[in-house]
Amino acid sequence: MAQYKMHLLVCGGTGCRASQSERIAGNLKEEIKNLGLENEAQVVITGCFGFCEKGPIVKIVPDNTFYTQVKPEDCKEIISEHVLKGRKVTRLLYEDPSTKEHISDSKHMGFYQKQIRIALRNCGFINPENIDEYIARDGYAALGKALTEMTPQQVIDQIKKSGLRGRGGGGFPTGLKWEIAAGNKADQKYVVCNADEGDPGAFMDRSILEGDPHSIIEAMAICGYCIGATKGIVYIRAEYPLAIQRLKIAARQCREYGLLGADIMGSGFDFDIELRYGAGAFVCGEETALIHSMEGLRGEPTVKPPFPAQSGYMGKPTNVNNVETFANVPAILLKGAEWFSSIGTEKSKGTKVFALAGKINNVGLIEVPMGTTLREVIFEIGGGIKDGKKFKAVQTGGPSGGCLTEKHLDTPIDFDNLIAAGSMMGSGGMIVMDEDDCMVSVAKFYLEFTVDESCGKCAPCRVGNKRLHEMLEKICSGKGTIEDVEYLKNLGAVIKDTALCGLGQTSPNPVLSTIEHFYDEYKAHVTERICPAGQCKALKLYTILADKCTGCTACSRSCPVGAISGEKRQPHVIDADKCIRCGACYDKCKFTAIHVQ
């Protein structure tokens, strides 16, 4: 490997690629060539840095300069100033929103200060398409250690001792899951990686697969060794083309190096993986539905038991783990169970990756130790609420989770605390809402999602969720009654108790948790017919303030239904019965004479 004195790391995650990071990498290379610096500086395309809000990111080491929102045309300046002359391009540095100071070193950015990166250890650090960089960072050393120095049971014991729990949402102890699968005798067993990430706004698994695909392959092989499986399958959604491409490249490189295939590292252990594509059905994240989908059947869940560990793919014992769970495994074997269990809380060890989204300043991907509070995540790492608005709620756990409010801000995040607070960890989506968000609409949004995604096998989920959604629709359109809110609560409880799988059992959660924490808002919708956040269109009342109206007629001309009348130069009026609440008049009025209630 040539000795470069400078590495330019360009984010090649889906988000930054969408903002032309490939062209940026190309331009950087070209400029380097133009100035004859090919032997001094190297451009590397990496996985996600997590700071998606300010992408595309270009990070220059060794001086750790973190350039944000780089455009292809900035490349010339970066090379001629920074790489050639050592002068940082200040205008591209991150500006601290509170002090307005430019921060060049990412270590000093609030966004990174509280993070500990285990699952994301290689994301934004190595080139995911180059196995050599993974090996240089101790890649496949955990597999080598397991195969040559440890028995399968010893590996399982390490994982058990580390306290690692499933990161897909359930939080089931991973070591125990492996032990059960290992205990079942069969001629063939399977290791399955669940990469069917489906929560709205979640992109943790995608980023790991895009940024560090080898860690997943390595962990799957370790798992195969433990449970006695020689075949691994990654079930990944077809909407993740980049993750698929990088996984394929990684698997091909492994085969070339003999890290997949027969007799890995001379240990006599055979293992290989293949990819199966999901069509993007949310329910296929549920392990039994996922297995049926892989078998070519409809992606519908079945009753457990039998658990996949007893009878899974093709009726054989199968161990299914989530991407992020796997990503932790090599690190645990290399650094030890004690190290891992020293991070986190009493019952939730290690770290968790979250995808921060919604009304938050620093949208992005973060990894924090379990036990970090919501306040630290939202206000310190996330940089607080956008546009100085007030925090209202944070939704965790996706469509299966619930909303947490201000009073939960100081709750340390772990599996059990979130459940106690009426939400759940889920796979790690975290959507932040501000004062302008209507909680009834939020519940409706999630219900819409579950109604769409219900497989239709059991009545509580198929019919029940539809009814919940209809009632929410009714409340949002101003026709709800206080009894409807009670119906929502009752029906929600019944669905939770009677649905077949995890999807149905958790789908009423967004409704129930918003009723619990924002009852007043539901009440305002049904009794006063007001949407306090001003989001529900049907509950808006448009009026014209006579003292401000100049009678310019701009509003009446813009009204698509002719609901506004009045003489020229005289105050106009809106006919509330005709008005469809489209807001066209509000946008047209130059004198702020349209009042919205």
């Binding site: 000795q3 590495h7 050592g86 250690k145 003999g258 001379g266």
Partner: protein, 133 residues
């Protein structure tokens, strides 16, 4: 492509590949490393700063010195270019002037390695705004 047939193959491969990643690994904990900054403004480059920098990088790689080499802008000592600033953790930074390849190697062997002072140190006669706070 050579196959990895044993754990020793893997270890050997890692050792060979490691140095290519060193620069990135080091950037994870710059505070605990010796930081060497070469002034690479026009005047520095014209006086041979680029060669000096390459010598420094090769030398720390060869001797496995825990140091990171970065480049900086003009430090103002144009008369003494090329200049190199060395910051050993816990010590005040020291600026060396008139550095050529020979001095560069002395800096690493004698100053960083043994703590001996060398000829050609420029007394620091300024404060930066960061230190003033």
């Amino acid at each position: 492509m050579n196959k990895i047939k044993s754990i020793d193959d893997l270890r050997k491969m890692k050792q060979d590949l490691e140095s290519g990643m060193n620069i990135r690994e080091k950037s994870n904990s710059p505070e605990s490393l010796v930081q060497i900054r070469v002034a690479m403004a026009t005047c520095g480059i014209a006086s041979g700063a680029r060669t000096v920098m390459n010598t420094l990088i090769e030398k720390i790689e060869k001797d496995k010195v825990q140091a990171v080499v970065t480049q900086g802008g003009c430090m103002g000592y144009c008369y003494a270019e090329p200049t190199v600033e060395v910051r050993i953790p816990g010590k005040d930074p020291v600026v060396f002037g008139y550095v050529d390849s020979k001095v560069a190697i002395d800096i690493i062997e004698k100053y960083i390695g043994k703590g001996e002072l060398l000829e050609g140190i420029i007394p620091v006669n300024y404060q930066t705004i960061n230190e003033k706070k």
